[in-house]
Symmetry: C2
Subunit: 183 residues, 2 copies
């Protein structure tokens, strides 16, 4: 359907291209018109699917939260926190374009229903993962432990994706962090 009037899969293709572009040059380098050119449609076509630029990033973030929740499901069910930490960082490294926009409140429409739903699903997954830790390993209130656990995997992922930990193995670092934190 690539040469018909109706593209047929434009929304998905735009999201994929946007993720690639964000991973390559950051959110600023994403141009709706460039994405449209790349997809072989006119510059106004993306607006129908995403409304505006913010809508594109919101859709990308929602997709990212969905993928993250999926990526964590196994280890959370296995109640293996160290593996959850590794899987979290591995998700970010494998999906840099998605991850780079997921927590950028300034780029997203926080009121978007799909975003809220996927974000809640991913958040519940994370909470469950930390809730299963052996209490004798946790020296601080459990709610703080949850936030600290999130902060550390987010910190590793963010710093690595921003190039600040260029010479480190992020997965190994996540494992070490889990051990030092709760081991």
């Amino acid at each position: 359907m690539a040469d018909s009037y109706h593209h047929g899969d434009l929304r998905a293709q735009l999201l994929t291209a946007a993720a690639g572009e964000v991973a390559r040059g950051g959110p600023d380098s994403v141009s709706l018109r460039a994405l449209a050119r790349e997809a072989g449609v006119t510059h106004g076509a993306p607006a129908h699917h995403f409304g505006d630029r913010r809508g594109l990033f919101t859709a990308l973030a929602a997709q990212g939260f969905g993928l993250l929740a999926d990526a964590l499901a196994d280890s959370v069910q296995a109640r293996d926190f160290a593996r959850t930490a590794v899987d979290y960082v591995a998700f970010a490294v494998a999906n840099p374009g998605h991850y780079a926009v997921m927590f950028r409140a300034d780029l997203l429409d926080g009121a978007d229903a799909e975003l809220q739903q996927e974000e809640t699903r991913a958040g519940d997954m994370l909470r469950a993962g930390v809730g299963m830790l052996p209490p004798d390993r946790v020296a601080i209130p459990v709610e703080q432990a949850r936030q600290v656990a999130w902060a550390i995997v987010h910190g590793i992922a963010s710093l690595y994706l921003d190039g600040a930990l260029r010479h480190a193995d992020p997965a190994a670092l996540a494992r070490a962090a889990a051990e030092q934190l709760f081991g």
Copy 2:
């Protein structure tokens, strides 16, 4: 000198205004022309001081790294890691506009001399802060411990500034994180 031909303090004023705007609406909402209007100069004036948009963010980040190094100096000299962690997060909360661009490689000119200098100074400060931890509290290689320590304060600061930890006290969280990590 506000109404003379030469502004006299344009560079500093633009940086301050840019920090405020980044804190308010993120880097995307920063417009060189809007900053110029606000400062009462023409749209071309900022280019002389920063070259282009990237140069503005680079200068802002360099200033931020300098401020960060200053903010950490006391506690590092006192070899008090918990306080360093708190001071780090407190710096980010107090200077959200600076912090939001400091690690955004896509917005910065990594080759800038001033940026590299200030970044190195802040990095050395952080390394020194973690290097003084009691060895029997550290279960992982010291280099990983450094990275983990950085990741956790960066994670707390980032998540808080992005609004993901809206109901938490970031300083208290930093203290708790230090205790759980190395306490």
